[in-house]
Every structure is written in structure tokens, then in C-alpha cells.
């Protein structure tokens, strides 16, 4: 059995992003997806802080500290790129102009709910950032995360236990074990499994039924 490594998970998600989409990638694992989208496939990466048409990290000789992404790392701007302020950037997000958002997750439920911002109602100081705006506003919401927690608890569940970020909007989940669509009324549907991962094994690592077509 060869579960996907993190770069493989990112590459697998990148495969499914077609030319022409406007895409917002969350901080952390989702950000790495951009590295696997070839530059000649024109995908417009949008960053919450008002960068439209982000390119890869700069070479040392073209580093520009005024140009950063939502994770506060230096980036570049592609030809055709533009800048907007925060309110316009989030109008784009909340107004349904983003084709795809990919976020990390603590839990995804069979009904498409996502929990990814707080680990309890009494979290000392949860940080929500733009996750609720993206979760509610993007046309499609994908989640990229490990299939289970470090201590082996399933993250694909019937109902989220953690506080919700967005309700019923997750369409697809990429994990180290495979790719799963989330379909209203059905739940998780297996799209792809990592090499050597059986349906039985993936099911044993999930707390919700995995359906096959």
C-alpha cells in the first residue's frame, strides 16, 4: 500500500484544475497545489489580500517584499495580473466569482459541512481568517487533508464534531488515501484510491460510508 505523500496529494488535486479557472488556495497544504499547475495552463490564482493572477515564489533577484500572498510569503504577479483592495477581493470571493477554493480541514461531513477553524466551542482564540467567506462564497469547495488525525481518528465523518466553518458546501476531498466526491443526499463517493489502498482499508479509516459508483 502506497498512500499519497503530501506532494502527491497536491499534484493529484492540481490535475483536476482546468485552464481558465479562478482559484483561491488556503494557507498550508492547499498552497502547494499551485506548484503542480504548469504555467502554460492558465489558471488565475487569487489571494485574499488582493492579488489576482499570482505566480510562483520569486527568484532571489526579483524578490519584492511589497508583493505577498495570504500566507504572507513573497510571490510574483503573472502578466495579466492585477491588484485590488480587501473589500473588492472579498466581493469577488463572496459574490461567487471564484471557481474553486481549496482549504485544509479538521473534519468533512457526508452532507458537505466543513470544520477547519476551531477545535472546540471554548477554543482559547480561534483564528477564522477568510475561511468562512471562501467556504460560503466559492463556486466549488475542495478540501485537502490527511485521511485521519495523527492519532488515527477519521476525518471523513457523518457529522462534524468541531465547530463548523461552512455548511454543506464541500464538493470534493483529497486525502493521502484517495479522492472522494461529496454528493448531497448520498455522501462520500470514491473517485480514486492511492496505489494499493483498498476500498475496505479506506472505509476502515473513515467514519462515514464510502460509496462507489
Amino acid at each position: 500500500m502506497q498512500p499519497f505523500s503530501r506532494p502527491q496529494m497536491a499534484a493529484r488535486a492540481a490535475q483536476d484544475i482546468p485552464e481558465g479557472w479562478v482559484v483561491n488556495l488556503g494557507i498550508g497544504m492547499p498552497t502547494a497545489i499551485a506548484d503542480h499547475v504548469p504555467l502554460d495552463r492558465e489558471v488565475i490564482f487569487q489571494s485574499e489580500n488582493g492579488v489576482i493572477g499570482m505566480g510562483p515564489a520569486p527568484n532571489a533577484n526579483e524578490a519584492n517584499p511589497w508583493l505577498i500572498n495570504a500566507g504572507k510569503a513573497m510571490v510574483t504577479l503573472r502578466p495579466g495580473g492585477s491588484y485590488v483592495h480587501h473589500s473588492d477581493s472579498f466581493a469577488m470571493i463572496r459574490g461567487g466569482h471564484i471557481d474553486l477554493c481549496v482549504l485544509g480541514g479538521f473534519e468533512v461531513a457526508a452532507n458537505g459541512d466543513l470544520a477547519n477553524w476551531a477545535t472546540s466551542e471554548n477554543d482559547t482564540a480561534p483564528a477564522v481568517g477568510g475561511a468562512m467567506d471562501l467556504g460560503a462564497g466559492a463556486k466549488r469547495l475542495w478540501v485537502i487533508m490527511d485521511h485521519t488525525t495523527k492519532d488515527g481518528r477519521p476525518k471523513l465523518v457523518d457529522q462534524c464534531g468541531y465547530p463548523l466553518t461552512a455548511l454543506g458546501t464541500v464538493n470534493r476531498v483529497y486525502t493521502n488515501l484517495g479522492v472522494f466526491d461529496v454528493v448531497k443526499g448520498t455522501g462520500f463517493i470514491v473517485v480514486d484510491l492511492a496505489p494499493g489502498v483498498t476500498l475496505e482499508y479506506a472505509q476502515s479509516q473513515s467514519a462515514s460510508k464510502l460509496h462507489t459508483l
Binding site: Y83, S87, R94, A125, V128, G130
Partner: protein
């Protein structure tokens, strides 16, 4: 003659009262009005409500203002970030009030304040913990929650270039919260790297018209730290 350019930090900070709501621009260090925050620390106003995307890092700027016990409440989207040590300590000790706001809702609440809109409905946060205590309403089969506008007494912002009318041009991702904060405050103070003669700023490039700006202070800030 209209001239919003002030010559000293003391002049820039004049009249900021205890109990004020203060908006602080910037995302990361880009577009962050470092010098004005230092000026506010020096000026002495206390019992402040501060609105910023993060809750300060290290022991400088906003973090320093909080450490000195001058901030009663912070409104932000992402309080917990690398180096937010001062906030975490104060929050644990119950010495600072926190209001978490989704980033887009925060920007829109300020835009609304600047545009004379007292409240609006958004799908962001509907059905979550952050919807508690807020009016929920269904439009076209989807649930939305009501968010109030976020007007402020003071905005501290940073821009790349200004003229004496207070027109502002930003650099790269330096716009971020600055233009909406300029709209939402009664007193908007801009820290700028450069000042141009009136008429030299390209009207097509001015993002914040001087209408929203009250005072401009030129500061050689140099590059943001990343």
C-alpha cells in the same frame, strides 16, 4: 488652499481620544502604518478598541500598544499567528476582549460604514458559532446573517504616495485593508513614503481619493519586512 500634509507626528496624532475605535491597516507588514502606531503609543490614548487583521506580533507596534494595557478590545480575523505572544498572554489572563470576524465580513463592515449602510446580510458565517446573537434571514432559499457596519473614530493607514489633497496611491499588495479603513473612519491619518506635487499623481491610479483622508505624514519607511 487644501493642505492635508502635516509636518510632525504630534500633529498627526492630535486629538485622538481615550475610548476611540482605531482601525489599523496592513496585511502582514505590507501596508502597515508602523510609524503611526508608534506615534499612537507615544500620544497616550487608552481604552482603545483596535481593528486589524491580526492581533500584533512580537513586542512592537500593535502588540506593544496592547502590552502597555492601552487596548480594551481587539476586533480581528486571525488573532493567532506566529509571534502573537502578547495577545495570547493578555487573552488568557482575561485582560483583553476579542471579537473574531471573518476577514471578508470585516472588510465589508468597514466598507458599509463608509458607504452609509448600517447593516447588511451575508452567507458568510451563517449556521456557525459566529452567527450567535445575529439575525438570520432566508433569501431565495439560502440562509444569511445580518452584520452591522463598523464605523470608527480613527484610521491609521499606509500608502506609497500622496499629494496635498490626500489622494493616495498604493504599491502592489499594499492596498489590502487601507482603502476601506480610510472610508470607515471620522479621522483618517495616512503614513506615506512619497509626496508628489498636486496634479502629478495619475488620476487613473489614485485608489483612495483625498475625500476620505484627513492627514498625511511622510515617513521613509523603506521595504516591509517579510
Amino acid at each position: 488652499m487644501i493642505n492635508k500634509i502635516v509636518q510632525s507626528m504630534a500633529e498627526a496624532m492630535e486629538g485622538i481620544k481615550d475610548g476611540s475605535t482605531v482601525l489599523i491597516g496592513g496585511f502582514g507588514s505590507v501596508g502597515q502604518p508602523d510609524a503611526l502606531i508608534e506615534g499612537l503609543i507615544e500620544q497616550g490614548a487608552k481604552d482603545l478598541t483596535c481593528v486589524a487583521n491580526n492581533a500584533g506580533t512580537g513586542h512592537v507596534g500593535l502588540a506593544r500598544l496592547m502590552e502597555l494595557g492601552r487596548v480594551r478590545k481587539i476586533i480581528c480575523s486571525f488573532p493567532r499567528s506566529a509571534g502573537s505572544v502578547v495577545f495570547e498572554e493578555l487573552y488568557k489572563a482575561g485582560k483583553i476582549e476579542l471579537e473574531i470576524v471573518p476577514q471578508g465580513t470585516m472588510a465589508e463592515r468597514m466598507r458599509a460604514a463608509g458607504a452609509g449602510i448600517p447593516a447588511f446580510f451575508t452567507a458568510t458565517g451563517a449556521g456557525t458559532l459566529l452567527a450567535r446573537g445575529k439575525e438570520a434571514r432566508e433569501f431565495d432559499g439560502r440562509e444569511y446573517i445580518m452584520e452591522r457596519s463598523l464605523p470608527a473614530d480613527v484610521a491609521l493607514i499606509e500608502a506609497w504616495e500622496a499629494d496635498r489633497w490626500g489622494n493616495l496611491i498604493y504599491k502592489d499588495s499594499g492596498r489590502n485593508f487601507n482603502p476601506v479603513m480610510a472610508m470607515a473612519a471620522t479621522l483618517t491619518i495616512a503614513q506615506v513614503q512619497h509626496i508628489g506635487e498636486l496634479g502629478t499623481l495619475d488620476p487613473e491610479k489614485i485608489v483612495t481619493p483625498g475625500v476620505y483622508v484627513n492627514r498625511v505624514l511622510q515617513v521613509d519607511r523603506g521595504a516591509p519586512w517579510v
